[in-house]
Symmetry: D2
Subunit: 326 residues, 4 copies
């Protein structure tokens, strides 16, 4: 499809076919640009938007903006609107962190076309069925779309190659002391996904809070000189303040980009197999991903949980791939 | 469509277009036969099966059996398979009450054709959109299909004329002290439906346990002399034992037939507007429909709850309508 | 002790030794007057006050007021302050129903003496130990004192003759759709008591809402012509309004007096043995007494639950006994 | 009382008067020996036993054994039996970790005298009232006794100098993925204590798992040559296996000794003020101490939570103090 792909030697594995489901959201956007710049590793099958950081109308539109930002790489990639609210709970947004539109940067392009008419969930079901065993889902928002697809079409569970999710934590939460935002917003959807028997990687706060967009890194992105690098720099600058003030970090955490990278470069993280269950009871611990690190429950592992990250290598990859975009 | 319908005088309202969603299940079957025999009142748009009393494969097949039993009335009615499990919880069945197949009667006909390929949820969405404001859903099983339709297509909420549900209770449960079976099996789905803003009637155990298939009534059904009456009699005999032994009733309760009748003959019941919320927390009260009878919560009504029933008139109607079938 | 008692024939059983624990509260007061007027049936060992309808300082004082009202009958009865808050939850009062002081009547006497220095819980423990197998506890408030006694001195569980509790419901609640006030205020204490293995009678809303202080009955109390009758009439008039407006009753319910009567005249009610568990999970059903009426849980009975009441006989008794007081 | 104390220079603060409440339990025992050997820092007012690692009869007896082991230091120290079960839940023990008796070592002395007749809770209440503002409680087991004291005598809350508790965790649990043993056994008691407004230090697994009785340290205790050192060495050897196998540590964690040291040497740990709430809802997170490390809840701090430990200095102290005992 892209000229660069014809250069690959035969030994190189084919790019991984991936559907990206998320709630852009500024770090989703940076993560999706990483994917679009990684054409030798990732075949972007489509972007499916879900409610989350901002309402669905905005996350859907932002999917189109990211594609427009990516130029040639995203030209033929379709995007879809999905669920406009969590399964059970009232929606929660994070406009304080992601700005009113979810993409708080100036001069972003308009989407080049409208979203597809097909529902995100139907697209996921249809695509997985069409390529049994091949499709990876990278989810970087609340898991409402993925859960609906699994319940509406349980036959796809054994057909999904892998789900990689940015969400949860083996330790502290962010939105509450117990819960990470994506898990908190739709804990019931998250529990459906963790219970579905699909190979699953969880990239939680315990690792993503170690992948920080420090001022130096933001400067490096800006110094790339391209529009994508400038947009990433501006977006990551926007939310550095809250990370500095609340968590004492030197910049915003690269949550979603790390999960995107984990899909095709799992070697960048350390993984531990364990049982994970999501708290769906209302109260203090709602949305907590209870990770059985020491195997005390005796329940079988249902996820590969990221427990370490090679942060420097990860950022080098991010910089290199953003550099390729216009 | 049926000759009898051409006899109606112009003043008579057109038959109510209804989708019947349920888990036959012997009382679903009796209820659906009541609907099929009520052609001047009800236009049966389709049967959509859901997991519940027995697994989905059986409830779907049983939908086909009921149509075959109804002869001409059900000849053109399509039926559909829906969700094979609750949204979050493990499935629970009631084979002890409904027999291993869900239709414990001898000599029932085979389905005349296979279920449609379309998913029950897609059928519901498509049909409601095609006839905005006209379609009633009568749900006599766990609400998984209805909840999935509402979440996948939130635009249909204001387009549904009414949902009539057999489920819940203002008082005691049956499967547990707190919960009625349909509510217990998928409490999350039930809460989605009660929270959807759709006009809703709840026909719960507090009234259905007053509509009992006494031995006299079973005999009257058998005495109709047709196959449908014989089948109803045999099915209702099957579960009379459990109602006698556990609840001290003189026969099985006509849960689902009463909800079916309520859709086109709401005058057979007394209704009270109130706020109802379904308990989704695990534990003692899971699945309980908490009915604010006295308005102590201050929350606005979201349902018409049946609080009384004219049982004798109801059974007269049932007998008359079953009599019309082959 | 009282002259009247010397008249009893030898065949008559000795008066039942009873500790009354409650939160007066106007219906507690009427109930305690009933006890004090029933000297041939009840030996009042003491009144122990607990937080509840009004704060502890007031319920304690009100215990002294009731004793003063009763004249000779209560002259030697000690009273004690107990727990000032529920075990876990924040306190909740019902000043809207019981008035700011808990005894909204004019011209009530001052307590004749101060409460004892001993803590209510210590008094209960000491008294039960001193008369093993003999002492009945009649609790007409939140069960905090009783639960503390059982946990502090588990040896008393097999020594208590019986606990009779006004609280809970087999059906609707009053403070919430699910919960009766006494159960809601300290559900953890209630669950401790239901789990303690002590013979237990529950007199819940399902029967007490049938024992109504109608205007005729209030008039009859007033017509007794004594101070106690006038006080009862005034107190019961006070809260008739809320019962009329909210529950459509013709007067206030005689909750606590019915429980007091049940202790020495259990024949006034119908009882069913069953398993009862109190919901301690926060949320919709907090404080609900889940009554396994049909034995579907398979758990052994832990309470005699009142399921019917001979209301007329009960009120006749109440009137007769109040008449004896000054 | 002890000769050594007369040597203190006037500038030295008086020993801290402390009640030790716990469930010995082998690490309670080591901790209490540390206290008994620290006579210039700690005045041991009494040991109060609670159910926990082993049943109450054994924890009470073990309190007597520890006193006997300590020789002169514990000669006049009274000990008391307290609660024999948690407030609400069924008791849970840890005999797998602490052995059937709770003190799995050979040749331990018999208690020199019986426990006092007074209840542990009454002793706590009486002692705190007698020395307002002076008494510290060091609790190294489930908090049932402390919670009962606070509820029975709420007046003592402002009179307690400080509660130091070994329990909870800012991160992972041990008995479940979410909960530490002491918190899990009686989460309701723990929440009562955290809500009581008493100055509170929490020494949780996040620090105690860093204070490990390595083989070298066990050898150093044994090399002290005294009976107490030998007993400590044998006890700590007993549970090294489970820590090695489950947590990958080189020895058992010195949970309770670290909390004991924290009472009079808080400088050995790093502390952070924060809001802590204990999960009392049944389910996955029952007993979790939800620590608001980042202040996202906006609730005021109610505890000083240990977040770091100077492990080497701590063990040096432990060794030095055990050395003083017979
Ligand atoms: Ca995101
Ligand atoms: Ca059904
Ligand atoms: Ca009361
Ligand atoms: Ca301990």
């Amino acid at each position: 499809m892209l000229p660069a792909m014809t250069d690959r030697t035969p030994a190189r594995p084919a790019p991984l076919p991936v559907i990206f489901d998320g709630d852009p959201g500024l770090d989703d956007a940076v993560g999706w640009l990483l994917a679009l710049g990684s054409f030798e590793d990732v075949q972007v099958l489509g972007f499916t938007a879900v409610h989350g950081n901002v309402p669905l109308a905005l996350t859907t539109r932002n999917a189109g903006v990211v594609l427009a930002l990516s130029g040639e790489a995203g030209r033929d990639v379709p995007y879809f609107a999905g669920a406009d609210r969590p399964l059970l709970r009232e929606g929660v947004t994070a406009a304080g962190v992601h700005g009113a539109t979810g993409l708080p940067a100036a001069g972003l392009p308009e989407p080049l076309r409208a979203p597809e008419a097909e529902h995100a969930v139907d697209f996921i079901i249809r695509t997985v069925r069409a390529r049994p065993g091949e499709v990876t889902l990278v989810a970087t928002g609340p898991l409402t779309n993925v859960a609906l697809a699994l319940r509406l079409a349980p036959d796809i569970a054994p057909l999904i190659r892998e789900i990689v999710w940015m969400g949860g934590s083996t330790g502290h939460g962010n939105r509450t002391p117990a819960a990470e935002f994506n898990a908190l917003v739709d804990p019931h959807a998250a529990q459906i996904v963790f219970g579905a028997g699909v190979p699953l990687r969880m990239v939680g706060l315990n690792v993503t809070m170690q992948a920080v967009a420090t001022p130096d890194r933001v400067a490096a992105l800006r110094a790339l000189g391209n529009r994508a690098g400038a947009a990433c720099a501006e977006l990551l600058t926007f939310y550095a303040g809250v990370y500095r003030d609340r968590y004492g970090l030197s910049g915003g955490a690269l949550h979603d980009p790390l999960a995107v990278a984990a899909a095709f470069r799992p070697d960048l993280l350390d993984w531990q197999s364990m049982h994970v269950q999501v708290e769906t009871q209302e109260g203090l611990n709602l949305g907590r991903t209870v990770c059985d690190l020491y195997g005390v429950t005796g329940r079988p592992a249902n996820a590969q949980v990221a427990v370490g990250v090679r942060d420097r290598e990860f950022f080098t990859l991010l910089l290199e791939r953003i550099a390729r975009l216009p």
